[in-house]
């Protein structure tokens, strides 16, 4: 305001002074919608494939340059999004504080009946949403992530206290300060090769002290301690590619099994392999006996096949074939990799709590207009008296009936 007065625009200064936080919120929400629209409609540098983005950039040469200059081809990382979020947050903070103060004053002056649940819910929702936004921001700023992909060829190094570690990531103390020991890894696949199950048991060591031991499934997060969590990678491994042939045709599929850590005694891991549909075939049950499979040395693996009905196992090396009850099975290849991500995110749990509070507040704000129970001499009973804090302008009641007019 002072700035505009200094610029000799008193009318504009008065108009700016009259702007309320509600109007700022509307402006910020409008800007938010516009930015998100831009992010959805304009190819984004971070998410679009580089070649496609380059083609688009050349094809729309003058416009794409302006859009890049304005930051609209990278909305998520541009200054616009934080700016609008801060504007919205400031408006929400002021609005919430004012309303909360009003509720406290009304409560003190007129008692609990003056404070209707929808009003409380609205304040709780906005406050919790503000808290959640802040916590998500803090989480993004302070989160440390360490990722290791145990690809073929990755070297193994020793870690303290007998814990295994790679030179690639979180096994050694890194940003997360955690050393993990992978005690057991179980993998299984669907007939089409997609991963059916991936489950691992870890022991975690922080500052030379065991902090947790737990089992982790893929698509799950193992929360260890104080915001420390482990995610099992989506990539699969170790895997054996079989070609299965016979009177019902040729089929292929990946079979995943356990082999890690290589020098520990995990000799047998059972997994089932159901042949793809092209006629019913009795499922083969595979027992994988891994002697020395390790990343980079996968060819030394031996896979044992056994029928679901039991019986002796057929031990195969890559390239070898066996005929199992009239069905030819060939072990094509053996490969392996998996990945583990260790993440320290101390604000994740708080952000979750704030989100839950926001939902509860919103439910109360949008719920039926119930009033607080009123305590009377006879006991507690629910009253439907109108709250003292009423709407500023009461409108005439309208029934909204669909009228049937008999002409």
């Amino acid at each position: 305001m002072v700035l505009t007065e200094m610029m000799g625009r008193p009318r504009l200064a008065r108009r700016v002074a009259r702007v309320r936080e509600h109007q700022i919120a509307l402006l910020a929400l409008g800007a938010y919608v516009a930015l998100v629209f831009a992010a959805a409609l304009i190819p984004q540098r971070s998410s679009a494939p580089p070649v496609e983005y380059a083609h688009w950039r050349v094809a729309h040469a003058p416009v794409s340059g302006w859009l890049e200059m304005l930051g609209l081809t990278a909305v998520a990382s541009s200054a616009w999004l934080p700016l609008v979020t801060v504007l919205l947050g400031a408006s929400m903070a002021r609005c919430t504080a004012r309303r909360a103060l009003g509720l406290v004053v009304a409560w003190h002056r007129h008692g609990v009946r003056a404070v209707a649940p929808p009003r409380v819910g609205s304040v709780v929702f906005h406050a919790a949403l503000l808290a959640a936004l802040t916590l998500f921001t803090l989480s993004a700023l302070t989160r440390s992530t360490s990722h290791a992909e145990l690809a073929p060829g990755a070297a193994l190094v020793d870690a303290p206290d007998g814990y295994l570690s790679t030179d690639a990531g979180p096994w050694a103390p890194g940003p997360t300060g955690l050393v993990l020991r992978l005690d057991d890894l179980r993998l299984a696949a669907w007939p089409d090769g997609s991963l059916r199950e991936q489950r691992a048991t870890f022991s975690a060591l922080a500052a030379q002290r065991p902090v947790a031991r737990g089992e982790l499934a893929r698509s799950g997060v193992l929360d260890l301690d104080s915001g420390l969590s482990v995610l099992l990678g989506a990539r699969t491994g170790p895997a054996a590619l079989f070609a299965v042939g016979g009177s019902v045709g040729i089929r292929t599929g990946w079979v995943h099994f356990s082999d890690w850590p290589p020098d520990q005694a995990t000799p047998t891991e059972e997994t089932s392999f159901v042949l793809p549909a092209n006629g019913p075939v009795a499922p083969l049950r595979l027992h994988t006996t891994v002697t020395a499979v390790r990343p980079g040395d996968a060819d030394s693996g031996v896979v044992a096949l056994r029928l679901a009905s039991g019986g002796p196992a057929w031990r195969l090396r890559p390239g070898e074939e066996a005929t199992i009850e009239g069905v030819g099975v060939r072990l094509v290849a053996l490969d392996g990799w998996t990945s583990v991500t260790v993440m320290r995110d101390p604000f994740a749990a708080w952000a979750f709590g704030a989100s839950a509070a926001a939902l509860l507040g919103l439910a109360a704000a949008l719920g039926p207009p119930l009033r607080w129970p009123r305590r009377e001499a006879a006991g507690l009973r629910l009253t439907y008296e109108k709250a003292i804090v009423a709407a500023p302008q009461k409108r005439p009641p309208t029934t909204g009936q669909l009228q049937e007019v008999d002409a």
């Binding site: 989100s355 439910a363 049937e404 002409a407």
Partner: protein
């Protein structure tokens, strides 16, 4: 897919289209009883749709959320059911059946044109968040369609008495609905949509952290859902900012536009666009 399931789906599609035609005729010519008949036919369609989905569920062993066939069929059912619930509570909202029945028919039509072979749920889908995220998303879309129906009636009614007035023939005609309750209903339903969308986005973010490693990844479906959510917030706050809160055609137009945006985000990008979501839900 069993023959009973196919039959139930086609009965539902037929009922939806008959309901849409009945209600369209009733609105155009002002026949209240035909409007009621349309609602009854819509309820029959919902029952048949629910039977088809129950048969599918029993055969596939998982809920109706995998692939366009299951997803669109359940969207159609949700749209019809939510409208019927609203209509039971607010009987004067009968003309909204035109929009609800048409939307349900179109959604079921897409389902019937999609491949119907059963698919296995991928491992990432086997999560408790799936039930919350997907079922609430369907409810959100259905509530948004009902809100859009109220907004559309308000928008059309502000322009002309399309529903007709008392005619010279002495027949019972439909007079125009009051704008006030229509406006309140449209905004109330939009408020529910906003709440449900908040649940959808938050549950999706928590699930994405487990499945994809981060809360938010600016996937097109996420981005459009955020635009829809922010748009709902904008419209609701705009109404609260008005002192008199009188019915406003511009607000009604905004609601209708928002509902179209919601359909784009859920149906368009979720099932047909290039998105991480499409990889999970497309056949």
């Amino acid at each position: 897919m069993t023959s009973a399931e196919i039959g139930a789906h086609w009965v539902a599609a037929l009922a939806y289209v008959v309901a849409a035609l009945c209600c369209g005729f009733a609105v155009a010519f002002g026949r209240v009883r035909v409007l009621d008949l349309g609602s009854i036919v819509l309820a029959v369609g919902c029952a048949s749709n629910a039977l088809a989905l129950a048969l599918r569920w029993s055969a596939s062993g998982h809920g109706p959320y995998l692939g366009r066939y299951e997803a669109f069929s359940s969207y159609a059912l949700a749209v019809g059911l939510v409208f019927l619930v609203v209509r039971l509570r607010q009987p004067w909202f009968r003309p909204g059946a035109v929009v609800a029945a048409t939307a349900a028919f179109l959604l079921l039509g897409v389902a019937l044109l999609a491949p119907s072979a059963p698919t296995f749920p991928s491992p990432a889908l086997r999560s408790p968040w799936l039930t919350i995220h997907v079922s609430v998303a369907k409810l959100a879309l259905a509530t948004a369609v009902s809100s859009g129906a109220a907004g559309l009636l308000l928008l059309v009614g502000a322009n002309a008495s399309v529903l007709g007035t008392a005619g010279p023939s002495g027949a019972v005609r439909v007079a125009w609905l009051d704008a006030d309750p229509l406006d309140r209903l449209a905004h109330r339903l939009l408020g529910y949509t906003f709440f449900l969308m908040t649940v959808v986005i938050l549950s999706g973010a928590l699930w994405a952290r487990a499945a994809w490693g981060s809360f938010w990844s600016w996937d097109p479906v996420e981005t459009w859902s955020l635009a829809f959510w922010a748009g709902c917030a904008l419209v609701l706050h705009t109404r609260r900012a008005r002192y008199d809160r009188a019915p406003d055609p511009a607000q009604a137009a905004a609601i209708v536009t928002l509902v179209v945006l919601g359909v784009v985000s859920f149906v368009g990008y979720g099932h047909f666009g290039v998105s991480q979501h499409a990889a999970y839900v497309a056949p």
